[in-house]
Symmetry: C2
Subunit: 726 residues, 2 copies
């Protein structure tokens, strides 16, 4: 391999001359493997020849996907040029850029009119910004290799006008606190660093000096276009406002993953080119913390919790996280537990961070990541709710009481999901969208995302009077967050409890979920106590979206011989009721099987309760929704509590056909006390043992003492909760 | 480790003294690992103590599962005693056997009355035979270690009466040609070999001398109790009649897997104790061939094709196949391609065969198994239909035109299923049963197995006038088989074609399926031509049970706002129609996605055709059926052809969200000729290229020349088929 001479200004964004030298001498098989994969990928693309078509299509369409492939390939080719010194890569990038420079001045706005901020090569400025974030890296890699004439031409005819278009010409895109703007800021800043254009870098860091240039009031997701003035927008302000102090991103992990790439790649460039900013230490090392927050928001397969708008299956394997985790390793504390995640990713970015991680792995430094029970606060100050993550054994429970999450939020206050390793036990639907798949309305959000996926009935949380939280109004939901009440975690008991008092008028809800390890049981139990203060005759629907095949129910199911939609709106129009059971105060139990393990829900019921067995799929002309099952506990009443236990048990494999422990170990669940101040529940096991859980709903002082009269006598305890065998 | 002295009569069934010596000196990590696993499993069971409860429960219940665990554990403990010499294993077996001997004389028939042949420890003799097949191995291992008094007691008070009970006292169980009888024969024969009881061995090999002792006419699966006289029944007769010359078992691979264990384990014992029989060479090495037949009847995950009554997921990983594949290696030709399957099984049986395989793997001899397109004939003489397996790339198609398969058969003549690696593309439902899972009616067949899973509409084959093949009558179906027409396989074209003329009165069907590799396409195509001769106004329903999420359809779907069952009987009572499209002679295309790849069906339609989008689950009070989707092509007419192409294309991953090749490459499919003698179809690609497939339906002589007038002019070819680019 030949090396480029050093002492130059470029590359300087994500590759540095000294790092390139090290790459050529390192003993790091994972880096070599990643390099070879990129060599192969780029070879395939280069063999196809250069194609810069006139923009026409939406996401998923030919011109969209081609321009997208182009920027990915240019970025990779740039790195390969630096590492291998093979000029064919530089020539490829130059020739492609010249084609972009030729076509760019001829373009108006993209012909598709769907976006609040139309791009030129793509239907939205967001994708144009994606292009520039990647392409500026490629340009950086060949900048010193290009003749001055070409540089001048590209700067003037392509890059500067391109950067202006997505900034000053579209402030409604550039000057917000929003993941779209983060991409815009990074794009403009990175090309500014390459071109040494201080004005662009300044816009990128601190925003534009605009006052009220917007003509539209909402973006395509229903988020408000609240434009900022200079200093209140730009990259630094994004870091200030986009994350909580714990690194939680209010739109949720799916969008955080997407936003992290521009945050981290621009930060990396700034660390190299403007080290005085010390961007990676900014706000108590917020950007590194944000990577840890993402890692903590995953199931046993590394897939992100799919709350808010999120396509399921997005995971730590994504290209964004491949970059992010190595970067957190390199620019953070060289935490060896990140290396085990990088090993699972099975590739590293071709930069200093990736090399460093791969070398450390080669030295055997990797250690397992310690997934713990923890709470992530929401809000820039950390005081606007959050999410609680409970983990024990292979079980992971996450409950959400965060902010709404703006245009991508779902009406799911106090909702939860439960995993067994990587398997969904109780699922969140995620978004109704097939990202980038043209078959499905161009790969964008489907109309069922609004009519079903965002609605409260699509989530594992309480629906009052068949209407969604906040009456389905994003602006109203954005005004408040859920309220953290307590979070506690010991070896055997983890509890999260939070309140929601704004979602419905005159209704106060508090949900308390506990993950309990009981010696005599195979796996931890989940206890779920949802207490409600509301007027008499309030109608409640509490759904449970279990995943798997129903094994048995302890009550008689009345099956419906014809099916009709369960309602007209708020998501009910997409549900069939396959059957129902009038439980009338009896204990309800249902066991299901997910292909490996058995799960049993045990619910206390009250007189008049009904259990409805639902199926998603009504009014779904285009088969946009999955036909997943659900169970709705329906009750009419005033102040009340919904109490359930979710048990994981047993095992069965289709190749040996020997079921182990396929029956629940719970014989009864009773609510022994329920008032505004306290809730007490008792879990009786088939062994005859009884475990009692008592919880103080209004006083979370760990030192206060409580005394409550229950249906089984008076009990006393100290602190927020008491869990013991009776 | 201490070794037992040799020169003894025992062990002699599946372990021999010389093999035991080798086991203690071998360098075979897989054997060591398998040994350690068994040591651990047995330790867990021994720690629980001995439990021999009074029989009471059905499958899945406590006493059933305990007795089952007992025999598995005793067999393993016996092997461990031989290999390790540790007497604790012998003591454990002896003590358990004495408990069985104590309880046995007190038992009448099992209290559950469901079986045509009730057992003593289990509800059916079949399970009692299972017990004896395993326990006789354990007894063999400790026979020489036991004092004579104990041997005498066990032989007289437990084993001889036990063997008599499942043979001469239940000839309706023992003296048939059926997998139940195979278990009975092996059980009685194996204990006979251990006890050196020539009478038992004789019964086992040649059957009982009974004439007509049966009181019932059918077994529990609806199979007839056709008892045999001596020489027509017994183990040798089972080998003669249970398999085709290709090793195919008429009940299908799920039951073949179950039956193979007694066939092979008894054969192994006979090879050791009665080498003069040369049982493994019998009938042109039929038993070894049968293992290959099983291996060939699997998808990319090693799971058996689930036709007839079969629980999906049963696979080469099962305990029966762990024994069978190692045995086929050892007693066959030491075929190195079997070793790669054993590596995937990741364990070997603790006997000579397992040791031999593990040693060969340790020596690096393993080679990939070559899964090829092939046909397996059915019928003892190989002339009663069969199944055709077409393979190319990762695609596997299997079409069935075999015998019905007796009580476990489904009404699925000319049905097919299609796999992409281990993924179902077009599925067979399998059985409606959760084997051994007590929640589901004791783990036995559910009533929906009859009302849905066996019915023709549950399969990917033609339903005429809404009635199942043979009007759902097993006896009628057993009288005939499908008729093989041709099977051919080259590098780029594999074709199977078969006829069915008995399933419906006055209706002659022939299905021709081809797996076609076309250079310009990413993956092979499946062409499906189902030609029918029938009276005018015949009503046809042709279902397609695709697996995955529907992406798009090229016709307008009319969604149903309320759902009703599609009929009253023949399986239609379990189907909802979610929507329909009136296709009226237009080409129909539907694309679906299974989480990795895209699949598109393209169907030619005729005036009046309707496509119905179905969902399983109506009239399913106990949620016994999976809510899987289906597509039914409905037509009313006389002589006709159903022509479709199934295309596999593209890729999409949820973690990178970049769809590749998500659209079909087929732009049209036309039927250019259809008569009793010929069918000609043309596949047009989006590239504009047209491929024509011509097939002679009545003359399969490869040397004959054909000339046909098509809608696009006259064509000529030589041989059964012609496939070429026009």
């Amino acid at each position: 391999m030949t090396h480029l001479v050093s002492g130059q200004d470029h590359p300087g964004l994500i590759l540095t001359p000294s790092a390139v030298r090290e790459m050529n001498s390192a003993q790091a098989p994972l880096f070599e493997k990643s390099l070879q994969e990129v060599v192969d990928e780029v070879a395939v693309e280069m063999q196809k020849g250069i194609d810069v078509p006139v923009p026409k299509d939406l996401a998923g369409g030919y011109t969209h996907e081609t321009h997208k492939r182009n920027f990915f390939t240019m970025q990779k080719a740039g790195v390969l040029f630096q590492i291998t010194g093979d000029e064919k890569y530089a020539v490829y990038i130059r020739d492609m850029l010249l084609q972009y420079a030729r076509i760019y001045p001829t373009l108006g706005k993209h012909p598709a009119t769907r976006s609040y901020a139309r791009g030129k090569f793509f239907w939205q400025c967001l994708n144009d910004a994606n292009w520039l974030v990647y392409t500026s890296q490629a340009y950086d890699c060949i900048y010193d290799w290009l003749d001055k004439q070409t540089v001048k031409k590209l700067n003037k005819e392509l890059f500067r006008p391109y950067a202006e278009y997505i900034s000053i010409q579209n402030p409604q895109f550039f000057n917000r606190i929003h993941n779209h703007s983060t991409w815009g800021n990074a794009a403009v800043g990175m090309i500014g660093l390459v071109m040494q254009d201080a004005e662009l870098v300044n816009w990128a860091l601190y925003g534009l000096d605009v006052d009220d240039l917007h003509q539209q009031e909402k973006d395509n997701d229903g988020g408000s276009l609240d434009l900022k003035t200079q200093g209140e927008a730009g990259f630094i302000a994004q870091i200030d406002h986009s994350f909580s102090p714990d690194g939680y991103f209010t739109e949720g992990p799916y969008y955080q993953r997407y936003a992290m790439y521009p945050f981290l790649i621009f930060a990396q460039a700034l660390a190299n080119k403007k080290p005085d900013l010390d961007i990676l230490k900014y706000r108590d090392r917020l950007l590194i913390k944000a990577v840890y927050a993402l890692i903590n928001q995953t199931n046993g397969l590394g897939e992100f919790f799919p709350f808010n708008d999120a396509q399921k299956g997005m995971s730590l394997a994504s290209r964004e996280l491949v970059n992010a985790v190595s970067m957190a390793y390199f620019f953070g504390d060289q935490d060896p537990s990140l290396l085990s995640i990088i090993e699972k990713q099975d590739r590293v970015p071709l930069n200093d961070a990736g090399l460093s991680a791969a070398s450390a792995i080669a030295q055997g430094l990797s250690q397992p990541f310690d997934y713990k029970s923890l709470e992530l606060s929401d809000g820039a100050k950390g005081d606007e709710g959050g999410i609680g993550i409970l983990r024990a054994d292979d079980m992971t429970l996450v409950m959400k009481y965060a902010k709404h999450g703006m245009g991508h939020g779902h009406f799911d206050r106090l909702g939860f999901m439960l995993y067994d390793g990587g398997d969904e036990v109780i699922q969140d639907y995620g978004s109704a969208r097939w990202v980038n798949i043209d078959h499905k309305d161009g790969g964008g959000y489907l109309k069922e995302n609004h009519s079903w996926a965002k609605e409260t009935i699509a989530h594992n949380t309480l629906v009052v009077n068949k209407d969604s939280h906040f009456d389905g109004n994003v602006q109203a939901a954005d005004l408040t967050s859920g309220t953290r009440y307590s979070f506690t975690s010991t070896d055997s008991v983890s509890i999260v409890s939070a309140r929601e008092e704004n979602a419905y008028k005159d209704v106060k809800m508090q949900r308390t979920m506990a993950l309990l390890t009981i010696e005599e049981l195979e796996r931890p139990l989940v206890l779920d106590l949802l207490t409600v203060q509301a007027p008499m005759e309030t109608r409640y629907d509490l759904p449970l979206y279990y995943q798997g095949e129903l094994m048995s129910v302890n009550q008689q199911i009345e099956a419906n011989t014809t099916l009709s939609p369960m309602g007209q709106e708020s998501g009910y129009q997409h549900l069939w009721a396959e059957g129902q059971a009038a439980v009338n105060g009896d204990m309800f139990q249902m066991t299901w099987f997910n292909g490996k393990h058995f799960y049993t829900v045990t619910s206390a019921t009250t007189e008049g309760d009904e259990m409805i067995f639902t199926r998603i799929g009504a009014n779904d002309l285009k088969f946009n929704l999955r036909r997943d099952p659900g169970l709705i506990q329906r009750r009419v009443g005033g102040n009340t509590v919904f109490a359930s236990v979710y048990e994981t048990h047993g095992f069965y494999s289709y190749s040996d056909e020997i079921p182990l422990n396929s029956f629940t170990s719970i014989s009864d669940l009773s609510v022994d006390h329920n008032s505004e101040g306290y809730v007490v529940a008792a879990i009786e096991l088939t062994s005859g043992k009884v475990y009692r859980f008592a919880f103080s709903l209004k006083d979370n002082d760990p030192n206060h003492e409580h005394s409550v009269e229950t249906s089984k006598g008076e009990i006393k305890w100290k602190g927020i909760y008491d869990f013991k065998r009776k």
